[in-house]
Symmetry: C2
Subunit: 183 residues, 2 copies
């Protein structure tokens, strides 16, 4: 196999199962050895590709997480007309896959933001960045909706955006135990 390809392959395998395990068990409760065991790789391999556990996670955020959230919660809304229905539909879809998948890439955010709050500035910054992106996109989507007449002009775009986000995160939190009924 091509050297470059192999490198990327290993790195990506690490990131993918890394995200999966971090999501399921939390960051601090997932050891590097756990991830390596899952892939039958060694410490050496890991520290060849990443500087540290923190670096590892940040790279996961920037590549996998950001991309996923874009494709699930932002892209579907962009450039369409009837914004409001679309947003709802989009949330529905996201929650749907969350129910089926057990691990929806979609929203590790809510889960993990709590874990790092006050404990790891660096990682926290990256997570908040992603949230910001989501928020901005929601706001512009809503404003577009107003412009098109699909949404009442008097609505506070910013407020609604934040409301939608918090509702989504809240539901995801509750789903954890009350099962899908929460929807």
């Amino acid at each position: 196999m091509d050297k470059n390809l192999k490198r990327m392959a290993t790195k990506q395998r690490l990131q993918v199962t890394g995200l999966e395990m971090f999501y399921k068990n939390g960051y601090y409760n997932t050891s590097i050895d756990d991830v390596l065991k899952e892939l039958s790789l060694s410490k050496g391999a890991f520290y060849y590709h990443f500087d540290s556990k923190e670096d590892f996670f940040i790279q996961i955020i920037e590549t996998l997480l950001a991309r996923k959230m874009y494709s699930m919660l932002i892209e579907p809304i962009e450039g369409h007309e009837n914004t409001f229905d679309l947003i709802l539909q989009c949330f529905e879809d996201a929650l749907e896959t969350a129910v089926h998948n057990e691990f929806d890439f979609g929203f590790v955010l809510g889960n993990i933001i709590n874990e790092f709050n006050g404990r790891n500035e660096t990682i926290m910054k990256h997570l908040i960045d992603i949230l910001k992106i989501w928020e901005v996109n929601l706001v512009t989507a809503i404003q577009r909706g107003k412009f098109n007449g699909h949404i009442d002009r008097h609505v506070d775009s910013e407020g609604v955006a934040v409301f939608l986000m918090s509702a989504y995160i809240g539901v995801r939190t509750l789903m954890v135990e009350t099962a899908p009924s929460a929807r």
Copy 2:
């Protein structure tokens, strides 16, 4: 001082600062030694009063947490008339103290439920119990509101209750970084 009082005093001091630190730094990220250092106590003292770290936390949940949530989110609603406004007011108050206090006992729950999900069955059960209590109380409050005519009869009590809870948790999560603006 009365022996019994002293015993209770030490135990309570441990629980109070324990909750405080668990809330701020998370359970797994707060060591027993941290708590003991804060109070200038020794390991011996701790293991004299508690069987284990887990036991410690469960006792905190059952005494402090359950009580706090009762006095902040349940009691104010009980036995009044205009339920809906009251619930809102109550949430407002809770969020308000959350803003000022930095550490609002009020809702450690949302923060911490995530941390234990999938990692500690036992503790998880206790946390869910508290949530259930909250839910039940909200539901009956809403039904009372319907009965009084303050709330539309066609409303799905259960659904609204869960909705209120998830919204609350969601807002609390976002408040973490977007500052109070989220409200």
